[in-house]
Amino acid sequence: MIRVNNRDTIEWKKGMTVKDVLTAMSYDYALITVTVNNHLVPHEEYDTCPVPDNAEVGVFHLAHGG
């Protein structure tokens, strides 16, 4: 099981990547920051970065404004 944003859970599957988690959660790639077990995942690694079972995934939407 993977927990997303300390709130939602999705079933873990062997070989799961960050991309798979984002797809399962219907997150847009564009303006987000993603962490897996508290480590940032660079955008170019979403397709390849493995997500282990029981991982804590953080997906933070970045909104314009400052």
Binding site: H39, G58, G65, G66
Partner: protein, 210 residues
């Protein structure tokens, strides 16, 4: 140090001033978030600020950014440095008038203990966070996302993931317009987290004899 002999920080939380005076904070962007966070950090007693921005102060900035009519046309880093020095003349400031790129982050902020992300564009926030985390994986970055519109104070929250700390509602967009109070709350949430992280970490290092 001269500042500790003055009364400037007499009302600070006991024990915090000595730690903060030895701390360096980087601030990327000197707009609504960066200028207001910088003022609070200067008042808190941070010893050194590295401020970076390439913009000029415009009248439209004055609804939320810590500038004045007399600053219009001035470089933001120059005007902000002047205001920060007016609060604490002993504050060390490294002012960088530059449009930062991701490749600039390691050199620009190499001496910072912590970074405050204070950009306005979401795509810039994204590459800044990535660049910082890649260059300095052990150091915290405090970011803001979602501080536009009016009211909804209760929606402004803090989320943490390792060394990444994000304040804001994560949804409101600047196309809604920006209100001084809400922007300043987010900026001060960033400053507040920075002070908390720095005082906790430095106290831990001191206790461990580092």
């Amino acid at each position: 140090m001269t500042t500790t002999k003055s009364k400037l920080f007499d009302r600070n939380v006991p024990g915090s001033t000595e730690i903060l005076q030895k701390s360096t904070v980087g601030i990327a962007g000197c707009g609504g978030l960066g200028s207001n966070a910088a003022v609070s950090l200067a008042r808190a007693g941070i010893g050194t600020l590295i401020i970076a921005d390439h913009d000029i102060v415009e009248e439209s900035n004055l609804n939320r950014q810590h500038y004045f009519q007399s600053d219009i046309g001035e470089k933001k880093v120059t005007a902000l440095s002047k205001h920060l020095k007016a609060i604490n003349p002993h504050l060390k400031i490294k002012a960088i008038n530059k449009c930062l790129q991701a490749s600039d982050v390691p050199e620009t902020f190499k001496n910072a203990d912590l970074l405050i992300e204070a950009f306005d564009r979401a795509d810039a926030k994204s590459w800044l966070i990535e660049a910082w985390c890649c260059a300095f994986p052990g150091k915290p970055v405090v970011c803001a996302s979602g501080l536009s519109g009016i009211g909804k104070t209760e929606d402004l929250k803090v989320q943490h993931a390792g060394n990444i700390h994000i304040v804001g509602d994560c949804t409101s967009d600047m196309s809604m317009g920006l209100c001084s109070a809400r922007v300043a709350i987010a900026a001060n949430m960033e400053a507040n987290i920075a002070v908390e992280l720095l005082t906790n970490r430095k106290a831990d290092e001191r206790d461990q004899g580092k």
